[in-house]
Symmetry: C2
Subunit: 363 residues, 2 copies
């Protein structure tokens, strides 16, 4: 980045507040006031200062120097699970971003997307971010970037995962309870032979079946809890969870969902319901199932999680979560003045959306 930006425009690095003051024969204070406290000087003098500034090409107080002095950067840092660019492919993340952006806007704060290189050791980006606080979106347990955030002496708000971090506010949903509810819905319809499609459970790629022990030790708390909710709900309905096939996918795409469905269906052709831990996966599964000639919900039930717009269009039965509200709440939690006593946790409501991809089992 060093010389990268040494361009045409940047060469006109010219006047400073001090040189302007000298030129005008006034003190630096006065010039500073002209910009920051217009009421502290006569309008005439202020006008003179600003005019001279323009003539000298003085661009106004340097933002970085001001930040150093005032001890505030005017920006919120955002740390994301994946590469920065991935966020713009995931509809849930996009909605979260929109909500967060809204909160920042209201506050006049900038939103700094912290570059987290692919698998980078480069924790440096976190240390180098000039921000007044961090919002951390859905990180795996024991993430080093997150650890780096915690090192910084600024407030932090986590969305979703990980939970139970001392001195850190959090906003999320009750993933486990939401899944219990979904399981009850399906069990109520009569489903007993179910299969599950879930997102990655650890940092190492495992595109295939996930054992119960792998499920329980998942490094992604959200997935762990969603699976736990399904286990609780189905177990209560008399299903032996250890017999329930869970297929994991590292990539979070519809294609992955479709392929995971094939894998599940091949080995367990008898399942009557496929529960997916995300809408994207479910949408893919739906496509895969229909491509395989299955009738949904006629002879197969498929459900998702998240409540993205595409799921609604597809009539997918799913659990809706307020992604945008999570973003806004995270921003507000970070930026809101006031009662910042002990760490707060905000759990937002979810809603089971029964639509057209779930029904009673065929037989």
């Amino acid at each position: 980045m060093a010389e990268a930006l040494e361009g045409r425009r940047s060469t006109r690095r010219t006047a400073t507040l001090a040189s302007l003051a000298a030129e005008l024969g006034v003190s630096r204070t006065t010039v500073s006031n002209a910009y920051n406290r217009p009421d502290q000087l006569s309008p005439a003098l202020r006008r003179r200062v600003l005019d001279t500034a323009r003539r000298l090409g003085y661009p106004g107080p340097d933002p970085v120097a001001r930040s150093l002095r005032t001890r505030k950067a005017g920006a919120v840092g955002l740390l994301l699970t994946e590469a920065l660019s991935y966020a713009f492919r995931d509809p849930v993340a996009i909605q979260f971003l929109e909500g967060l952006a809204l909160a920042c806007e209201d506050n006049g704060s900038g939103l700094l997307l912290v570059p987290v290189s692919p698998e980078a050791e480069d924790v440096g980006a976190v240390a180098r971010a000039g921000v007044d606080g961090f919002v951390v979106y859905s990180m795996p347990d024991d993430d080093e970037h997150f650890a780096a955030v915690l090192e910084r002496p600024v407030p932090v708000v986590v969305c979703d995962q990980p939970t139970d971090v001392p001195d850190v506010d959090r906003v999320g949903i009750d993933d486990q309870a939401a899944m219990v509810e979904l399981a009850q819905h399906l069990a109520g319809l009569g489903h007993r032979r179910v299969g599950v499609l879930c997102m990655r459970l650890s940092l190492d790629r495992n595109d295939g079946f996930a054992s119960v022990s792998r499920q329980d030790s998942a490094r992604y708390e959200v997935q762990r809890r969603r699976l736990a909710g399904l286990r609780d709900g189905f177990t209560a309905a008399g299903v032996d969870w250890s017999t329930v096939p869970v297929v994991e996918r590292f990539d979070h795409t519809e294609a992955a969902g479709a392929h995971a469905f094939d894998q599940l269906a091949e080995r367990h052709p008898d399942v009557t319901a496929v529960v997916c831990t995300s809408d994207i996966l479910a949408l893919g599964a739906l496509r895969g199932a229909r491509a395989a000639g299955r009738d949904v919900p006629g002879d197969l039930t498929i459900t998702g999680f998240d409540g993205v717009p595409a799921a609604e269009r597809a009539g997918l039965t799913t659990v809706r979560q307020p992604s945008l509200d999570k973003g806004r709440a995270a921003g507000e939690l970070l930026l809101d003045r006031g009662d910042r006593q002990r760490s707060r946790t905000l759990l937002l409501p979810t809603e089971l959306m029964v639509r057209q991809t779930s029904g009673p089992p065929k037989s």
Copy 2:
């Protein structure tokens, strides 16, 4: 923002590089080197420095102070047409963002979304952004925020509009030529009675027909050029452009597109083709047309512009533009070292995608 972030965590503002050095009995340089130039001191000493830092709760060099000293912020600022949050609703903007994020990632730069309040005078946010350069996405002519960006002594890259800004690089497409091609396609099919749906042409809301003079004086250059392209293309086919109805919409949503279609169809029921200057509008028009019982493309042709995923799914005939590439190119143009001589303009290719919403006129 001031006290907003004075929280639990932030109170542990403690050691500085200087106090650490004092504690260790070494110079500040040494401590600085421990962080920035590990090769400049013995591993043993470095370890001692780092250990003591941890013990004292020293979080490492303050990013803002470092930025002041090194004269680089490590971040790129992004200025967007609308409120920050709008960007996350527009699929074209999202793709642009993704591309830009990719370029930033590669460079290890942060991406700072500059908060531009709704209709804010608050140009201050631009002045206050600690960034090494700005990417400006599709701004109207004579925008004051953009003007504020130009005041800053840093490099600037504009995407799309406005064009012809001195000393500023630009990336975009040839909107006019792309529309000429589309017009030729439609004229070739035999369409002579056409109608147009376009995005806002100025900052004041005008949800209705736009006169030729309003078209020509549009403050949004992209819309101006797309309309000009249509005019050129259809005029060449013998159409009197002054008779072509152009319906404008301030909001860029499918609902607006559908409603605009109704408005057009009511007053000009005889048009055989509706050309929209964006896919969103076209998707809305398509919905409106079908809701009105029209057969597309049977008795009505509808086209879009942009090439968003939803347009592909809908089989919409449109002009595809490489939104992601534009974002990446903008980032690279800003960050790439090297030949930064005079201002560069990068025009990316577009492609006419003839799909299932265009066909010969009915009669």
